[in-house]
């Protein structure tokens, strides 16, 4: 036991899913040719002026409502001044001392205590910078390139209080935050495309100490797992430094995912003086009270409420409920299937074990699922009503998943309806028994494990369509009849 605890705060940058940029009408679609989604405003040309996209403001207000924050009726855009080639104006328009959202909290699940509340200090609107490209281009050895398609994309920067204590909590927070943003439909949460980014501030202190230690900031964290690893790495590093009698320096670190190590980007003495001041090109954002109130009524059922409802209404375990609610589309899919199957637990099993596995194999999200919730619900219902066996169900699932056809269509095409006709089954069973005299004798001598072999023979002949319970029952009866 080293006797230290970590204190962690996160800054999450969520790219808002508005169709146009925050200060101009350029498209925000990902993946366009470099510098093709630009105009004088987001290129920072002299004479161009910003005009605030009100949809970005609405996103921020809805987020504020969802975390129970104060929505500032008057907030101010400020200029954050620094030079960089991908920052076309030489300043970023952000919010500084008067952000649009203040306070609020987010509950995360933890192993130890179930739930923990993480305080949110603030959330503010800002524009994204462009991208510098140093590798993989022609002449990358002598040139760097700039793509300004991302310049001016709206971001919501969400800053926590230093309430997180472990790398696991950091991970849980990110999962919960991503789910919340997706539920609100204000961010797609795609970390690979950069629509969700995270910086972590980490410090350690002796257990029980109230004051905070010197913190370091880790940047360039481009996946949830990287955040977790980088934070753990930094906690371990700081503890090792202190245990060896050293002290922590206030530095900014860059995480290198390839080597799984961090390196110092800049020290305290190199920290920027951003010279914030109110942007004279934009009026203060004055919110209309009626609209603020109206937006609070547009909130969907939030992840935590949905999870609690899945547990209470459907009787799902906490784990299953968490899996099914992490993604709003998945939760919607599940509910759509349950509406048809009326069997929540069985449906949950099929979604979690079969559907998610198949989708993962294809590296697809639920939105790209070839099978409709209705069709899955129908499949589950057929199994539940013993129209088909579980085994046939799996075959059928595969076919449905691969072809996109309905269960009914495939059952008819492949003649998959379960044989529940006792008389017919008895006839098949007797034929099998006649052909397998040895095994019948063994069974009658008490070697009951051959029973499984005989079931398998019946299944083979019926191509799996026989009702397993019925087979067992008839087989046992027929065998006993031969004593």
């Amino acid at each position: 036991m080293h006797g230290y605890e970590a204190v962690i705060g996160l800054e999450v940058h969520a790219q808002l899913s508005t169709s146009s940029k925050i200060f101009c009408s350029c498209s925000t679609t990902f993946g366009a040719d470099a510098n093709h989604q630009t105009c004088p405003v987001c290129l920072g040309l002299p004479g161009a002026l910003p005009v605030l996209n009100q949809n970005a403001v609405r996103c921020a207000i809805r987020f504020g409502h969802a975390i129970g924050a104060d929505i500032n009726r008057r907030s101010v855009f400020a200029r954050k001044n620094y030079f960089y080639p991908d920052l076309p104006k030489g300043y970023q328009i952000s919010q500084f001392d008067q952000p649009i959202v203040k306070g609020g909290s987010l509950a995360i699940s933890t192993d130890e205590t179930g739930y923990k509340t993480i305080g949110i200090a603030r959330a503010h609107l800002e524009e994204d910078a462009g991208q510098s490209i140093h590798d993989g281009m022609p002449q990358s050895n002598v040139k760097s390139y700039v793509n300004l398609n991302r310049s001016g994309i709206p971001l919501l920067e969400i800053v926590t209080h230093p309430d997180l204590r472990t790398a696991e909590e950091v991970y849980a927070y990110l999962v919960e935050m991503k789910a919340l943003l997706q539920y609100l439909e204000i961010c797609d949460g795609n970390m690979e495309e950069g629509s969700l980014r995270c910086d972590a501030n980490v410090s350690i202190r002796p257990m029980g100490q109230a004051s905070l230690g010197t913190r370091t900031e880790i940047k360039n964290l481009n996946s949830f797992h990287n955040v977790k690893r980088a934070v753990q790495h930094e906690i371990d590093r700081q503890i090792a430094v202190v245990l060896q009698g050293g002290s922590i320096e206030q530095v900014t670190l860059l995480w290198d995912a390839d080597s799984q190590k961090s390196r110092v980007m800049r020290g305290k003495e190199d920290s920027h003086d951003y010279r914030y001041f109110p942007d004279p090109d934009l009026m203060p954002v004055a919110l209309d009270e009626t609209e603020v109130q109206a937006l609070s009524r547009t909130l969907p059922e939030l992840p935590r409420h949905k999870r609690e409802r899945f547990e209470s209404e459907f009787g799902l375990t906490q784990t299953d409920a968490e899996i099914l609610t992490q993604d709003k589309s998945l939760a919607g899919y599940f509910e759509g299937a349950v509406a048809v199957s009326h069997q929540p637990k069985l449906t949950a099993n099929w979604v979690i074990t079969e559907l998610l596995r198949e989708l993962k194999g294809l590296e697809r999200g639920i939105d790209a699922c070839p099978m409709s919730p209705h069709d899955l619900g129908e499949l589950v219902s057929l199994i539940d009503r013993n129209v088909i066996s579980g085994k046939i169900g799996k075959t059928l699932f595969r076919l449905m998943f691969d072809t996109g056809k309905t269960a009914q269509e495939l059952i008819e095409a492949h003649n998959l309806i379960q044989i529940t006709d006792s008389a017919k089954l008895e006839q098949i069973v007797n034929e099998i028994l006649d052909q397998n005299d040895d095994q019948v004798q063994q069974y009658l001598e008490g070697k009951t494990k051959v029973f499984g072999f005989l079931v398998g023979q019946v299944m083979r002949v019926t191509k799996g369509k026989a009702n397993p319970q019925l087979i067992n029952e008839i087989l046992r009866r027929c065998l006993d009849g031969r004593r």
Binding site: A48, L49, P88
Partner: protein, 477 residues
Amino acid sequence: MTPLFESQVLAQLAQGEVTSDSLVKTCLQRIADQPELGAFLEIDEEGALAQAAEIDRRRSGGETLSPIAGVPVALKDNIHVRGRRTTCASRILADFVAPFDAHVVTKLKEAGAILIGKTNMDEFAMGSSTEYSALQVTRNPHHPERVPGGSSGGSAAAVAAGLVPLALGSSTGGSIRQPAAFCGVVGMKPTYGRVSRYGLVAYGSSLDQIGPIAADVTAAFELLHVIAGHDPKDSTSAQMGRDDLSLRVADPKGLRIGIPKDWLGDGLQPEIQQAMSRLTESFAAAGAEIVEVALPHSEYAIPAYYLVATAEASSNLARFDGVRYGYRATGAQNLKEMFVKTRSEGFGPEVKRRILLGTYCLSSGYYEGYYLNAQRVRTRISDDYRQAFGKVDAILAPTTPTTAFRFGEKTADPWTMYLDDIYTVTANLAGIPAISFPAGLDSQGLPIGLQLMAAPFDESKLFQVALNAENFIRTWR
């Protein structure tokens, strides 16, 4: 001197007594005849003649056109015309071609104005003499050894020399009124928000306004009327049209004219003081009421202005870094060196001075003391004016402490140049409209300028009183 194009030329065009083609040709000839004046940085002869032909064709076809259709308008070279260069008289933008029209240019094109060329200015509008142009010298049409004022010195000189009937300037602290005063023409700064700043290269964004320069009050009004009005592309553009703008001819009887007594006295050239007195007496004699007004925070106006304007400028000019457009220094070994070399070589001395001042003013530890205090002064100055306009219709004041000074007279000590803005900066800080008009000549034959100021968005009253003043002054000749 060549006679100026007064507002009658607008009427003559409208009535078909003069064609736009002949007017443009006259202008082009006069520009060619006075190369030593140095007012223009670029002339679009071909474009101007083509536009003129088009307007003449439309007019002869019976179309009803704008009062400024077919009239050549010179543009200060910080206003974008698509496809033409916007240099801001700076090395750093010497080859920059604007990819879009400024809002005012869109309005001018719609009105059929002839965009004849771009005029010289102090680099990035920073200066009061046009001496800080990195590209050329502009001379005062009244005296070749005197400056035309600035920063819109090219536009004022062009109108004063009779090269064009109309010009646009931009004002951050007095850059329209001061050169208008030095050159003996009318220059008007609209209420902040009255004219869109879209397409104007920013200097001090919370202060900048584009405004008209003309030979007389009427012509200035016609130009303002075309460029004014709400623009959704400028968030600081006022949510009002231009329907409230009218040019009213009214008896001055009963007008309340405010005089800021504290502004008169030490440092004011006696002949300007005399012009003030004479005009005040004219108003009084015509039945106007003369009221002394107090503007107690004016004494802090210059420092407040230079803190706010330079703070904004330091940020506004950060985009000129050599990365995407404009001048880029060669020979840099790394990124930081490229930034430093580009900006060191690309900007002139006054621009660098103001960037440094503004950067300092916004720096951590100084922001509160400088920037925020300057903003507080600004609020007090606005309050002073609000109270004053509760008592008077307009305030009459000198535009400048002296008439046009000599080249080099004030470049050695920047502070003396900054003090030249003493009577003009308060209107920019308070965002109120103001108009400078010629009020005779001093003993050396240099023009004297006086100004009127009015409450925010009360341009109509401002022009009405300015017409009265102009009429009085005409009788002095």
